[in-house]
């Protein structure tokens, strides 16, 4: 079966982004970028399913400017077979991303659609569910284990206080949580080989989609800082401070 993995290029998770002086947006000029961590789990899972003989072809897709080819190369170096860039310089909101991905799914007809559970830039966590809705397909979010047999995916999901197991009929949309797997490191020979794998570029405009773009970012700001605390020298001082702190009962 064919697996489609949708990935996003985001600011590296170790970087603390800053707000521009005029509060118009975050300043990400020259900042290290990479594959969204949860999306890397999604790629890894597709590769493991291919290694088990369940998946036969892995297509990676992303949406963005030409520079997004770097994360597609990364996916190819990890083990994806080919990649598609839906090219646009616009920044799309989750519903529009889902609409674009729907068009890609209709073109590729994959049995398995994998995404990360959320992107670590906008922290929305919506695209997978929205894509499943638009395709009228089952969804299994926050996957920490995926088992595929007889055209069914049995998915263990991370929920508040424990786990839930769902069985979904394929094709289905599954979003990856961190615990799903540990993504492999890309070795240099694989990076070289990935250069020979094809990346197809499709202009977003050529898909003729009616996009929504209904949410406007008015401003951004740094969150208020917690007032500086004090250092205590031992447990006794800590307890006496806590016991005199309003509302704290210890």
């Amino acid at each position: 079966m064919k697996a489609l993995v949708a990935i996003k290029r985001v600011v590296d998770y170790n970087i603390q982004v800053r707000v521009k002086a005029d509060g118009s947006n975050v300043d990400i000029d020259g900042v290290k970028m990479g594959v969204n961590p949860f999306d890397e789990n999604a790629i890894e899972e597709a590769i493991r399913l291919k290694e088990k003989g369940i998946v036969t072809e892995i297509v990676a897709v992303t949406i963005g400017a030409a520079v997004n080819q770097d994360i597609l190369r990364h996916a190819l170096a990890m083990g994806a077979d080919r990649a598609t860039l839906i090219e646009t310089t616009d920044s799309l909101q989750p519903l529009d991303v889902a609409k674009v991905l729907k068009a890609v799914v209709e073109r590729e007809q994959p049995s398995l659609i994998l995404l990360g559970k959320q992107a670590i830039d906008d922290d929305a966590g919506q695209t997978g569910q929205m894509l499943a809705a638009l395709l009228k397909l089952p969804q299994a979010t926050y996957a920490s284990q995926i088992t595929i047999a007889d055209n069914q995916a049995t998915v263990v999901r991370e929920i508040d206080g424990g786990t839930q197991t769902l069985s979904v009929t394929l094709p289905a949309v599954i979003t990856a949580d961190l615990r799903l797997n540990e993504p492999r490191y890309v070795k240099l020979p694989n990076l070289m080989m990935a250069r020979k794998k094809p990346i197809e570029t499709i202009a977003l405009d050529s898909l003729n989609l009616a996009l929504t773009n209904s949410v406007q970012q008015l401003k951004v700001a740094a969150p208020p800082e917690r007032p500086a605390g004090i250092m205590v020298k031992d447990v006794n001082e800590l307890l006496s401070k806590l016991r005199t702190h309003e509302g704290i009962i210890v």
Binding site: A98, I159, T165, A222, L239
Partner: protein, 309 residues
């Protein structure tokens, strides 16, 4: 027009975050209805109807709602949306699974984990692990959002709203609940606890985590949390993870033991009223957001603290 709250519950009890969503919903100054979708909804409907600020409770009942899927809930919610300009829920693993599906079926965007409702279509929410607060405005006809429960007080009980039954469409094919496994604990839920004691990688092992953190949590009737590093190292189960990739907590007292305080952990706990940090490294980031910091060997001072309580 009206506001619809999607209620989370365990089949018997409303999640305590529902009362917080009811408070958030008052911002629109229009009638607030609560949807209870359950196999046996009577007791749940009564709990929702008692919340002050609720106009009516809509009850959808179906045997399949014993363990509802997002697909089924979306089919119940979407036809109702014609009567509503706002559909909201408290942000949780439950709501963030269901509401994006609802929003897409309504052809509207969704705002996740809203921290502040500025006006009827403008919100403040965290991006980049809460390092940036974005003010966003939605032009959608139906505003679909989840709100951070800890930012809103819980609505009081004591009211008696009307309860109406609605028809529930049959559960769609294609997705089937198999099982659930909850980590059994006598402790309060992480998101509801007044005190949280969290352990980090400095604990060094699962045994040490249990032997150092649990007794302190017992004394304080606290929930136990963990940093991602501690979870990744296998010292604590994943559902205890506090942070961007785990749960967000805002207790009265948060005690961080052997936690460095990486950005993604701070995201999950920096709204706590009082933060205590115990760490051997005086340069640890956690001290920048702590009210009280103690540079010490945790294996020495945490048992001392436990004994002194």
């Amino acid at each position: 027009m009206r506001t619809l709250i999607i209620a989370e519950h365990d089949g018997q009890h409303l999640n305590e975050q529902v009362a917080r969503a009811v408070t958030a919903a008052q911002q629109w100054q229009q009638p607030v209805d609560v949807l209870i979708a359950a196999a046996q909804p009577e007791a749940l409907a009564a709990q929702a109807a008692a919340l002050q600020g609720v106009s009516s409770v809509l009850v959808a009942s179906d045997a399949a709602l014993q363990h509802p899927t997002a697909e089924h809930l979306a089919e119940i919610i979407v036809p109702l949306a014609a009567n509503y300009t706002v559909v909201l829920a408290a942000h949780s693993a439950f709501s963030k699974n269901v509401l994006p599906r609802v929003a897409a079926l309504l052809d509207v965007n969704m705002l996740s984990d809203v921290l502040e409702i500025v006006n009827t279509n403008t919100y403040v929410r965290g991006i980049y692990a809460g390092n940036v607060l974005a003010t966003v405005q939605s032009s959608d006809a139906v505003q679909v959002l989840t709100v951070r429960g800890s930012k809103f007080a819980a609505a009081a009980a004591g009211a008696t709203a009307e309860v109406k039954t609605i028809t529930a469409p049959a559960a769609p094919q294609g997705s089937r609940w198999v099982s659930e496994a909850f980590n059994k604990s006598e402790r309060p839920a992480l998101t509801a606890a007044k005190v949280v004691v969290s352990g980090g990688r400095a604990l060094g092992s699962a045994d040490a985590f249990a032997q150092v953190i649990a007794p302190l949590a017992d004394k304080l009737h606290a929930a136990i949390g963990a940093s991602r590093a501690a979870v990744d190292a296998g010292y604590a189960p994943n559902d205890l993870q506090v942070g961007q990739t785990g749960v967000v907590v805002a207790p009265e007292l948060y005690i961080a033991v052997g936690i460095s305080g990486a950005i993604q952990h701070a995201y999950g706990m920096k709204d706590s009223k009082v933060v205590v940090a115990i760490n051997q490294d005086p340069e640890a980031q956690i001290f920048k957001i702590a009210d009280y910091g103690l540079v010490a060997d945790l294996f020495e001072v945490v048992p001392q603290l436990t004994a002194a309580l």
